[in-house]
């Protein structure tokens, strides 16, 4: 334990409204803490710069999952376990449930929150590619009111994000339009469980008959751990959408993906390996699409 807890203040607002008020009082000083699965690691390592914890764990407003006709609203304080246990998520957003099950062991899934994962802004975070392919929006809240932003535009650089110092992430909104999509996700870690991703991917797409042949539709691919932020592979998608799925297309898409990512070598892996894995996973996804189609 390399921090001195005597140096850390603690504010425990009873409501979200109070929480944003405390935050507004001295926005650069407070460190909102929910499940602590990331912040407490830094606390133990003695690397936290801010010394004021603002407790938002278990705030009722943040820990609810509401299904509306057009979208699912997931409170930012929902835990991975909450996601795994939610029927709508299991049915309509399977990638989110699956990636939640990869995040740490059961104990950490009971504490780690989706909003925390977004705010922590790790490029290796398991669930963020899923949020990206599902076209999630975020509702951010402060004493100045709420604003709604596209998740895809939220992370602007390594650990940088479109979040004002006085704002909290309130809700993650998922458009309910992905039933019937084929989905694919995979995490390549250092071992089978409890590992930080070397590369992770989430993808969805459809195949539709266009007069004579099968065409790819609304293919959406996002990858983690290969750029300073979770990355949507827009160029690769563009080459695939409204095109037939054949080897030449796959080749083109993989080339485009390779140009979009910016992998680095670090403690966990090499840039070369990460690039090759992205290539292989994009292929595996497209192969999965083809295989599902063949099953029909």
């Amino acid at each position: 334990m390399r921090s001195n807890p005597a140096e850390f203040e603690w504010a425990a607002p009873a409501t979200l409204e109070e929480a944003v008020k405390v935050l507004a009082g001295d926005p650069d000083a407070w460190l909102p803490i929910a499940g602590g699965t990331d912040l407490m690691v830094q606390f133990a390592a003695g690397t936290l710069e801010r010394r004021r914890f603002l407790n938002i764990w278990n705030l009722g407003e943040l820990r609810r999952i509401d299904g509306f006709p057009g979208e699912l609203q997931v409170g930012a304080g929902s835990t991975y376990t909450d996601l795994r246990e939610n029927d709508i998520i299991t049915r309509e957003f399977p990638l989110l449930g699956r990636t939640a099950s990869w995040t740490g062991g059961i104990a950490n899934q009971n504490r780690g929150t989706l909003g925390g994962n977004v705010a922590n802004a790790s490029p290796a975070a398991d669930s963020l590619p899923a949020l990206m392919v599902y076209g999630a929006d975020l509702i951010l809240t402060s004493t100045r009111g709420d604003r709604r932003v596209r998740y895809e535009d939220f992370h602007t650089g390594y650990k940088r994000m479109n979040l004002a110092p006085d704002e909290l992430i309130r809700t993650i909104c998922l458009p309910r339009r992905f039933s019937g999509y084929i989905s694919y996700a995979r995490k390549i870690g250092t071992r089978k469980a409890q590992a930080i991703a070397k590369v992770c991917i989430a993808a969805v797409g459809r195949l539709a008959k266009d007069s004579t042949q099968l065409m790819l539709e609304d293919v959406r691919i996002a990858v983690g751990s290969v750029a300073p932020v979770p990355l949507r592979l827009r160029n690769a998608e563009q080459l695939l959408n409204r095109r037939p799925l054949d080897e030449a297309r796959v080749e083109l898409a993989c080339k485009a993906a390779a140009a979009e990512i910016q992998p680095i070598s670090d403690l966990r892996s090499t840039a070369k390996y990460r690039a090759q894995i992205v290539n292989n996973l994009v292929r595996e996804f497209l192969d999965t699409l083809a295989a599902r189609e063949r099953e029909r």
Partner: protein, 763 residues
């Protein structure tokens, strides 16, 4: 070495049975007290200021003024009353660095404070100026001698073994096969970090409680550092949460530090490392490089060869000579070498000293041997099983140290059984049919190996261990040994042996907490020696106890357990104490020449054949171990549940050694000193490990036991890497074998970037 059939021993009531772990109830209820669970009145917490650089002169130490230093106890070199070294072999490792530092994380200063939360800031507030010196970070750099960092030539120790006329074999050879193999550092990663509590008192001297394997090593080190006589130093082992060799020598260091702080402050001092400090500062398995050059006949029989075995010892000698010795003696594997020359060296680098870790050099040299056997098999074009079969040691033949194999071990039969158990042939043909396509490729790998039990050569004679047993007021007995329990089953196995020897119930036997004030020195708990050597001594101490009762006329044979208990109680009432000691004596016919490194290296060898089945994921380039057969001959199995547990745990560590556990070094410092980044197998990563025993009784071990603890560490890595080669057709000769390297090899072979799996399209 005479052997006798096991059948004569099977009348045993307790030995060979799965008696429950002696200290199990405390462990499952949370009542067991480990060092960090103990707290003394007025206790201070200690911390260590460590070197930030790999090598350099210490210039200046300054204390940042924003820390209330008057509240702290600060210990530096002048506070050491005795000598400033940690007693081991060469005594070259300082307790605290004085003028120079030779590795990152080397201890320089010690701090203590009543509030443990105050320490990390204070440690960071001590700033040290260095004059850096050039440093060496690999075996190759140390060999080049661009800097001399230890002795005359950077060599901690070297050995040469010569058997037969090696120079004459090359002309006769049909094949000469060469190979180079290397293994990386491996962290023991016991889940309980290192820790001690020390007290100091002018009258009583120093007492240290702590997590450790070898209380008498710590005892010896404290006498030197604290300049105290034997009876003023007391060392008590507390419940120890895993060790694997990692708590063989390092506890002497942390104990000395706590003792110095306790001496200066006059208060009890606890030092418990956090995980990052433990990983960065304490010992790891020695990295190694082995080169083989082997002469063979056209049918693949070994004529002889040269083996060069080099290990990286880190900055101080510590245990490197002994690790090197064991690695050297195991370098030829379980094969018959008519002629062999082994040149072995332990070299200095500016990393923290590498040390004991389960297997102790043997996993390194056996990895090379068993990878090399597969290379030989490919060259000679016979199967991996067949090449081993043709070269196995047989009774009557001699090992590389010219020790005659006299026990009736039949390695061919052991291999055959392992092949049947692993369904080797049918799996092999299934993998062949898999062909080129598919997202995974399967493979099978074999490793055959041996592991010597007990100290090497004359080591047991020098140790001259003593074991005791004493009567208890309730009529039961208590085992008195310094041999420690750290999960492997010492308590249980020794109590079983004593109960069996005395005809008592398992519940009649207790074991004393290892406390140098209470128990004799039964030697360190290392080298797979406890069940065999200490157990055998305990057996004779127990027989001595029984004889005492018989001679006193209080017991006659045969007797029932209750009669023994009555006799014991009666004796204790009359004489106050009933106690028997036994001291190790070298058995006849065991000769070892320390100069020539020739003779009976070990009183017994355990033998094994392991078969790994792997699949390589061609999308992720990761290796998964899917099935594992571990077949071994370990002499008498004293406790089948515990013995199986030893093998399962050893195989899991071996899987980590082969595939996951990579220490990332930068300028001699471990970069990934967190569990998040140093990857050990989780419950999701272990295959079904199928464990089988054969038992040939060993006359030198208790009830025929041999050593078992280290053996299972030796075989998994080569078996797994052999299986990967079987799957991919690509030889990998360095571990840990990471997906990045497989990716590199496969994409180089297939051309970029569409390797991986091919797209099958929509039909």
């Amino acid at each position: 070495m005479m052997s006798h059939s096991l059948k004569s021993n099977l009348g045993e009531k307790i030995v060979g049975k799965p008696t429950p772990r002696k200290e199990g109830p405390g462990k499952v209820t949370g009542e067991a007290r480990y060092i960090d669970d103990l707290s003394f009145p007025d206790m201070l917490y200690g911390a260590t200021v460590r070197s930030q650089i790999a090598r350099g002169m210490l210039k200046k130490i300054t204390f940042r003024p924003d820390v209330p230093w008057s509240e702290f106890v600060v210990v530096s070199v002048p506070d050491i009353p005795g000598k400033n070294y940690i007693a081991l072999i060469e005594n070259d490792q300082p307790c605290l660095a004085e003028k120079v530092v030779n590795h990152p994380e080397e201890p320089i200063l010690l701090l203590a404070h009543p509030d443990r939360y105050m320490l990390p800031n204070a440690v960071a507030a001590v700033s040290i100026e260095y004059e850096p010196l050039p440093a060496l970070f690999s075996i190759e750099e140390s060999e080049r001698k661009s800097e001399i960092i230890w002795g005359q030539d950077n060599v901690f120790k070297s050995y040469q073994i010569e058997k037969g006329d090696v120079d004459a074999i090359w002309a006769k050879a049909d094949y000469i096969v060469e190979g180079e193999y290397s293994t990386g550092a491996q962290e023991q990663l016991y889940i309980e970090t290192q820790g001690v509590i020390a007290t100091y008192d002018c009258e009583q001297g120093v007492t240290v409680w702590g997590s450790m394997q070898c209380p008498y090593y710590v005892h010896k080190a404290l006498m030197v550092v604290c300049d105290l006589p034997e009876d003023k130093v007391r060392v008590v082992q507390t419940e120890t949460g895993g060790a694997f060799g990692g708590k063989e020598e390092y506890p002497s260091m942390i104990a000395a530090h706590a003792a110095l702080l306790a001496r200066k402050s006059g208060r009890p001092v606890k030092i418990v490392y956090d995980r990052a400090e433990d990983m960065a500062a304490t010992t790891k398995r020695h990295p190694s490089r082995t080169r083989h050059r082997t002469a063979l006949t056209k049918d693949g029989k070994i004529l002889g060869g040269e083996i060069e075995f080099v290990i990286d010892g880190g900055a101080y000698q510590t245990l490197s000579p002994v690790v090197l010795s064991r690695g050297t003696i195991h370098a030829g594997g379980p094969y018959h070498w008519p002629a062999v020359r082994i040149i072995a060296k332990a070299l200095a680098t500016n990393a923290p000293p590498h040390g004991a870790f389960r297997g102790f050099g043997a996993p390194q040299s056996l990895f090379a041997m068993e990878r090399h056997m597969d290379r030989i098999a490919r060259t000679v074009k016979v199967s991996p099983a067949e090449i081993r079969r043709r070269n196995f040691l047989k009774p009557g033949q001699t090992t590389i140290t010219e020790q005659t194999i006299s026990e009736p071990i039949d390695l061919e039969k052991l291999l055959d059984r392992a092949l049947v158990l692993s369904d080797y042939e049918s799996k092999k043909s299934r993998f062949r049919q898999q062909g080129k396509n598919g997202k995974r490729k399967g493979g099978l790998g074999i490793a055959a190996f041996l592991h010597g039990a007990g100290f090497t050569g004359s080591g047991e004679r020098y140790l001259s261990s003593v074991v005791g047993i004493e009567g208890q007021p309730n009529g039961g007995v208590r085992v008195l040994v310094s041999s420690t329990e750290f999960g492997q089953g010492t308590n249980t196995v020794l109590c079983q042996i004593a109960a069996e020897a005395l005809g008592l119930e398992y519940g009649d036997v207790a074991i004393a907490q290892p406390d140098t004030a209470q128990v004799p020195n039964s030697g360190p708990t290392v080298a797979s020696r406890t069940a065999m050597v200490v157990g055998k001594l305990l057996e004779s101490a127990a027989l001595g106890l029984k004889q005492t009762l018989i001679r006193a006329g209080m017991l006659g044979e045969p007797y029932a357990a209750e009669e023994f208990r009555c006799a014991c109680r009666a004796y204790m009432e009359r004489y106050g104490e009933l106690r028997s000691l036994a001291r190790y004596e070298q058995p006849d016919g065991i000769h070892w020449d320390d100069q020539k490194y020739r003779g009976a290296a070990y009183a017994a060898f355990a033998w094994a054949v392991y078969v790994a089945e792997v699949s390589v994921d061609l999308t992720a380039y990761s290796v998964s171990v899917d099935d594992f057969v571990a077949l071994q001959e370990v002499g008498r199995v004293i406790n089948p549940v515990l013995a199986r547990g030893q093998v399962l745990g050893g195989v899991a560590q071996g899987i980590g050694f082969a595939l996951y556990e990579k220490v990332e070094w930068r300028h001699g410092r471990m970069q990934n000193s967190q569990m998040t980044n140093y990857i050990v197998p989780t419950s999701a990563d272990v295959p079904p490990i199928r464990v089988y025993f054969e038992e040939i009784a060993n006359q030198h071990g208790a009830f025929g036991a041999k050593g078992i603890g280290e053996l299972p560490m030796d075989g998994p890595a080569p078996a797994i890497v052999n299986a990967v080669e079987d799957a991919l057709g690509i030889p990998f000769n360095s571990i840990p074998l990471m997906p990045e390297e497989i990716c590199e090899a496969l994409t180089a072979a297939a051309g970029p970037p569409s390797a991986g799996h091919s797209f099958s399209g929509v039909r």
